[in-house]
Amino acid sequence: MSDKRNAKDTVLEIKNLKVNFHTYRGEVKALNGVDLKLCCKEVLALVGESGCGKSVTVQTLIGLLPENASVLEGEIILDGDNLINKTKEEMRILRTHDLAIVFQDPMTFLNPVLTIGTQLEEVVTMDKDLLVEAIAIEKPKQKLDFTDLIKMDDSATEPKNLKISRRETKRIAKRLCAAILSLVKLPDQERILKQYPFELSGGMRQRAMIAMALARRPSIFIADEITTALDVTIQAQILHLLKELRDKIDASTLMITHDLSVAAETADRIAVMYGGNVVEVASSVVLFRRPFHPYAQMLLKAIPNIENPTSRLEAIPGTVPEMIDPPPGCRFHPRCKYAMDACTKKRPRLKEVEKGHEVACYLY
């Protein structure tokens, strides 16, 4: 698949996604028509303040919405299939092969009573192709390189003998685990494989989670606020790792963050969310040079900038909209200084204003 894909090909498309939550206080209209395209092998950052619907978008995408949620409208197209219509079981299979996700708090996804090695082995042995390919390329006395295997995914399609003995499986899985850990720059792999999650520091745990996600050789890698709980120096290490990995892995990355600086450091393109909508999409350079949407403009002015200090920050007046009773039309209009009549009536849809620069705003 990968060799046929063009860099500009869309791998994933979310169209007009609307999601509600039923709560005591009323319907929470969390997603109000999200439009998003993820291109092949790019890093797309989904940026927005907390509560704007980033995580709900991800939850819908991977089919893990909570019980009280309902998808009202919209499609999520991956490889020509609409994920909304898939069953739970189909989504589970998809999550083990195509969609790999890492969350902010790795402890919710790591099993505290199993060693890292056991958990990683479980992932690795699920993928029989991987084991076969690993045996094919392994050379004695030499470390396995996981990047070779990533490139091999799907491209080597000739049917192989899928019968591997238990002992062989065990042996190759061990080597694979070590190879994956070294891919995410975890030192001393043998020891780490024997450790329990709580014995690792926050940064190492996050690396282990990334390793587990990449071990599936996913076509889409989702990172939901993975550096938020880490310190700056550790965050820098993880961001550095992601940058290194992006050429080695074969996945398109959807990076969720509330931090514009993190997005600026890692992403090719940035999608800005506000109140359950994607309001602007552009390449990161363009977005920072010339944001179009009033919200994006104000957001950039609200962050203190060391290189370019001001004595006062420009705060955005008003507050984030109440999702139960959101403002009609453009959800930003009560806080927008350019708001016109049209803004209060109908929701502006994303429109390509320049090449590759889309905005949802009536000013353009």
Partner: protein, 348 residues
């Protein structure tokens, strides 16, 4: 150690409202049935600095470097193991009841987590009233209500917020409420312990603006603790960098950002993500994790992560030495100013 204590003494005289000298806070680690002390968490391990009237002293450091413990020790919320904290000349750890009463009015703190630092079962009105009651600043209930309203307006809230519970507010609003409560009596000195780290950027901007305005209006002095270097740059006059319970560098804001002298400060600066995709960032990575404050490395506590570590660094702990108001604790005298500039000059 001696040299800088003397130097602070000389520079400080008596005018500085807050003077901290060689402050240590060690938490004992107990183990076994008889609860024997088997070691110490040296959360704050010999910190000296002073805060000038009406300035903002920024304190930065990674989590676990002892920033919060330092704040708690200053307020006597935790007992210092050694050292002095003088506010207006009064040694806080040894202050008597009466002195503490005035100190509690003058020195206030805003905590990091706005979702946990307000009693969840108290309305705004009752929590403000309680604070006034503790300080004995109002006589009647109606006076309290009037004063509460005035305070709420001052921090950008109003009447309709008076009878609500904390859970009905957003994080930014809760921090405003906390600020209002801190200003109930005649606060002079505010310790702000990461007041915006739980907030979104747009909300952070308005809270920071509020804090700046209040400082100007009420002649407040701030100690601003944070791990966000951009925020501390925006807020402070001087910045102290903490590492594993010690201040490793303290200087004027511009000096520290343009001309850092300590390798840790330099690498910390390099680690901050910049909101500019075109910045040509130097890839200087600080390797490894922060060591535990239980087993602090011998010699310079930064040496296991330091690229410039020499033989001496492994053996002798460097003192915090002052040169023109720039305090550095490092054996190697390295000039990072050139490298800082290459990082900065990138633009579109």
């Amino acid at each position: 150690m001696r040299s800088h204590v003397i130097s602070t003494k000389n520079a400080v005289k008596t005018i500085d409202p807050l003077v901290v000298k060689n402050l240590k806070v060690w938490f004992p680690i107990k183990s076994g049935v008889i609860q024997k002390t088997i070691g110490h968490v040296k959360a704050v391990d010999g910190v000296s600095f002073s805060v000038k009237k009406n300035e903002t002293l920024g304190v930065v450091g990674e989590s676990g470097s002892g920033k919060t413990t330092l704040a708690r020790a200053i307020l006597r919320l935790v007992k210092p193991t050694a050292g002095e904290v003088r506010f207006d000349g009064i040694n806080i750890p040894k202050a008597n009841r009466q002195q503490m009463k005035t100190l509690r009015q003058k020195v206030q703190i805003i905590f990091q987590d706005p979702y946990a630092s307000l009693d969840p079962r108290q309305t705004v009105s009752s929590l403000l009233r309680e604070a006034m009651h503790i300080h004995g600043v109002v006589k009647s209930k109606s006076e309290a209500t009037e004063k509460s309203l005035k305070l709420l307006r001052k921090v950008g809230l109003d009447e309709e917020h008076l009878y609500r519970f904390p859970h009905e507010f957003s994080g930014g609003q809760r921090q405003r409420i906390a600020v209002a409560r801190a200003l109930v009596a005649n606060a002079e000195f505010l310790i702000l312990d990461e007041p915006t780290s739980f907030l979104d950027v747009s909300v952070q901007a308005s809270v920071l603006n509020l804090l700046k305005d209040l400082q100007k209006d009420l002649n407040l002095t701030y100690m601003f603790i944070t791990h966000n270097l951009a925020v501390v740059h925006h807020m402070s006059n001087r910045v102290a960098v903490m590492y594993l319970g010690k201040i490793v560098e303290l200087a004027d804001k511009n000096t520290i950002y343009r001309n850092p002298k300590h390798p840790y400060t330099f690498q910390l600066m390099a680690a901050i993500p910049v909101p500019n995709p075109e910045a040509k960032k130097k890839e200087i990575l600080l390797e490894g994790d922060v060591p535990s404050p239980i087993n602090i490395p011998l010699g310079c506590r930064f040496h296991p992560r330091c690229k410039y570590a020499k033989e001496k660094c492994r053996k002798v702990e460097p003192n915090l030495v002052e040169k023109d108001g720039h305090f550095v604790a490092c054996h190697s005298e390295i000039d990072f100013s050139a490298e800082m500039r290459t990082g900065e000059s990138a633009d579109g």
